[in-house]
Subunit: 328 residues, 4 copies
């Protein structure tokens, strides 16, 4: 199931080293402005270029295939593709003998009986997140009056992120990080207790982003060590304003109108430049292995805009669904 | 959307103080043994009774409405209901003026324009998890050769759980906990990169369980502080065995044949016996409030079997889906 | 997949000779009046009793299991069950050796490897349409201002239906019929070109009604013999009023605001009282067979209210979906 | 909802006068041969060129965007696009004032508040069926051992189709027709009683094909005039072979192993060359109107391969689903 959403349905397609990667949004309302310029800021935020990011550069200009006419959505399926210009598939020939540790090479080969496109991770590549970010730009337009903002708040175990990157470069080893996301301006009432709680829907799409290993809403894991009287958010007025926000803006799976916030754990990039010892299918032994290809030392640097996009997609769908629920 | 799953589709219905709560499983294969006795152990694990759990007691005997004939599944929709015998709705009349802190009263009232059944949390009640546990029993039968095991590993911030409960009773305040879940015996290949990663599907259903605020797979949030060479799980043979299991049994969203494991954070029961200060709609002021009704001091005690059920449901669906993918 | 609909999702469960048959509606808006009395007229129309209908009588009083509080929908899943009081399962023991011609006995046995509940057709029985009619009552409440009206316009090949029934009784053989359905008051814009045309969605659910073998919209099969200039419906004003209605109220899969109409073909009841020659698994020969059980001589008499219900369900879902599409 | 199918999910995108039209198949098993040559025969059958078909010619060569590697499917989403080379959008400027009778111009404008791409029917154009035919080629590969064959059996009300076309040319008016489809080699057991009967699923997708106004399975509308003893198909052996096939290969919504057959009614092409009288929004009167653009005099000539494709898509999905049902 390569589609997410009930009303605002996002499907992505493409491979790391194919001609295009793309996204189709089915169920996008008609009449939304869709100039190319509106996509560029988020595309740029996702791009490589900073210290610690891959030297693979792509233009990442959205090409509208369908669903846009006179610069506005038409109500028909909206398909956007991105060219893969900067492909060096030869880098991946050497790894055929070795399933890269931390990567999906092994599981993909088994799952698809060896028919998967192994180059650059194929359909599982982080390259596909360009399509997710594009869908996020559209979703944000539906969430008018709502801000979705994600930032990298920790890298390599510390909050000084520049220092963390510098240390990773010196150490010649990849690092992970923590991305925090806050959403403001949401109406009360998005999400459902079973099985589409706001946490369910957001975590579902966020765990599609490569390298995410954990998510916590509001007080999250810290909640497990608190008491009820410490953790409960007391109401201070009839509109649902609360004195604290341990709930992270969600009660019983439903948004409560306060800031919705969560944090996600990003594992260190699997493609570390360090030599690793792992199984080699050619020699039938554990042997030294150094990953080829061009990679991010700290993929977490590029994750915030993807988390924003995923969150916006999930919330846009819940928002459209809620309008139906209120429509009688 | 009150349904979970693509092939093994689980829908639940009912309210805390209605006549029955129930579950329909659509897509359950025919010919599975379905004796009532097979449900009792998990039903018992979910029940109240231990120190720190609610005095509300229910028989929780499954009543098969459809889909079972001669004690075996027929392939038709399998509906199971449970009676709500032990209902004291009067407890909830007093709270009409006060939205209970930490509960869904406020959001439900707004979401459904006041038409929701407020008694005992209505459809959002933890009572509904009895239906989830029943579906989990069926799911476990589909996962033959696979063990799903969840336990409470922390309560009130400590690993000595009995001591934590004792302290909560003395303290007259509710507490949270951490539930750890391990799945062994899974085949390689369940899950998909976009958007149905194993983490996506498991987290989606786990976040439908009331009181869950966080989930982490494998190394989880600790991964954010590790380096790639520390975190990667080196392969030690051609079958995907790894020296470590930081990945928690999942690479690129797909099960890798090693133990799948994750931890969830359970917040302290919102219905703490402590007096709370919160908004009172009758007096239009913040006023003291003490929750009525019968509640768990540490709901986390009863969560493990529900987490097991949710996990089994998610994995049964992925397993059936994967058989299709392999069928050509 | 025992569920129909994207927003207004109807699932049915139960067997002909089980304790209850039932329906769950997920996605029903909150606040809709739901008195039992509102169900009785359509329940009565579906009931047996007239000449040519089965002597099996059921009370068919809806029992609300969930989703209704203070006689109004709550927004939670709405489950309604009906008791099967009037069951004579013994009638079906004799047919174990013979797959009844025209019935699903043979295919169900094969599909479910013999585990299906064969009594009275099990889950495939026309008894299940009681649940469909109940969901139709709810759907009609959502379609306020819209009338859905189906009638039997032909039976046994003639328009004098009483005469046709009389002849069938004399002839001791079952007959079929034609049901015509007209919907007035629909807004322009329901349905989508691919793949959810109004015809697609209506035919999908209508072909779930047992015994339906054909459906035609507007001019239907007669259209194949007309020319474009004869068939096109000329517009007579700017609001889409047309001089004729060969389109049956649908252009390009989308409702056009004119009367939506269609006709369905109902085959003669498979359980004819006439002796039939068919394969006997006990004797391994073609042998005489007379069906037992209580059956309708002209099931088409009871079909109109079921067609109405199915149509209302399909249109209620399209109507709620269209509100989303217009919501930006 | 622009997607069809539960397991083998087909989504189409594009407009008549856009750059590409395309299709994404999600859930296509890995390892299926996918040479371009295998697409050409069905593409050719769909093409214009014969007497009575449009002069618009397209190469219709499939371009694989994703999901194919080394000429085989990879298990990732399979996206195929087709270029729109032969576009004359200017033809459509004139019709802005007049909603073409029989077409979707009026309903699309209302449904999408005027934001739809009106050129050539936009997303509602028959041009989109090129994507459906491509998906049909893939579906047929999944249905190994099964033949799906559709032909035009009537045009303009007669069975001599060449004569009918000749008469239409002389008459300068478009005509309709009847397409008959037969499927042989299907296993017993595809489809489900509620709500996914084989008839439901096939009719759903067939009614997405532009110009279809009716469908009947087996004896269809003629069944309404037969008696039960005439209509029932007697079994002649233990394998479900029947003496007659009035059921059209389906009992109770489930395939019975005999030939599945149905007929569809195709209305005359709405774009007749004859002058029509219809409402003109510029003059605010009913006025003469002659359609521009290049059109088929008998679109039914090109429909059989599209009906085959639609049928194959529906049956491939049911076949994959049934493998799951049998997998315990």
């Amino acid at each position: 199931m390569n589609t997410f959403g009930q009303i605002f349905r996002v499907s992505i397609f493409g491979e790391s080293h194919g001609k295009w990667v793309g996204v189709t949004i089915d169920g996008c309302p008609a009449g939304i402005d869709m100039p190319v310029e509106d996509f560029l800021p988020d595309m740029d935020r996702r791009k490589a270029g900073a210290a610690g990011t891959t030297p693979r550069k792509e233009d990442d200009l959205p090409i509208f295939v369908s669903g846009v006419y006179n610069n506005k959505t038409t109500g028909a399926p909206l398909t956007i593709v991105f060219e893969n210009n900067n492909v060096r598939s030869g880098d991946y020939d050497a790894v055929k003998d070795t399933h890269r540790p931390g990567h999906a090479d092994f599981v993909l080969t088994r799952k698809f009986n060896g028919f998967n496109d192994h180059r650059g991770g194929g359909h599982s590549s982080g390259r596909l997140t360009v399509a997710l970010v594009a869908a996020g730009v559209v979703a944000k337009k539906i969430l008018s009056g709502v801000s979705v903002h994600a930032t990298l708040t920790e890298a390599g175990g510390q909050t000084d992120i520049e220092a963390a990157i510098q240390k990773a470069i010196e150490n010649n080893d990849s690092i992970g990080g923590i991305v925090s996301c806050a959403v403001n301006g949401l109406p009360v009432g998005l999400g459902e207790p079973f099985f589409n709680s706001a946490e369910s829907v957001i975590s579902h799409i966020v765990f599609s982003i490569p390298a995410i290993k954990g998510i916590e809403f509001g007080s999250g894991f810290a909640a497990a060590g608190l008491t009820g009287s410490q953790h409960n958010d007391a109401f201070t007025d009839e509109n649902g304003t609360t004195a604290t926000n341990h709930a992270g803006g969600i009660n019983g799976g439903i948004t409560n109108g306060n800031e919705l916030n969560f944090r996600v754990a990003v594992k260190p990039t699997s493609s570390t430049p360090r030599e690793q010892q792992t199984w080699n299918n050619a020699t039938n032994t554990v042997a030294p292995f150094t990953v080829k290809g061009r990679h991010d030392l700290c993929i977490a640097l590029r994750v915030p805009v993807v988390v924003e996009a995923a969150t916006a997609i999930a919330l846009a769908d819940l928002l459209l669904l809620q309008r139906v629920a209120n429509s009688i």
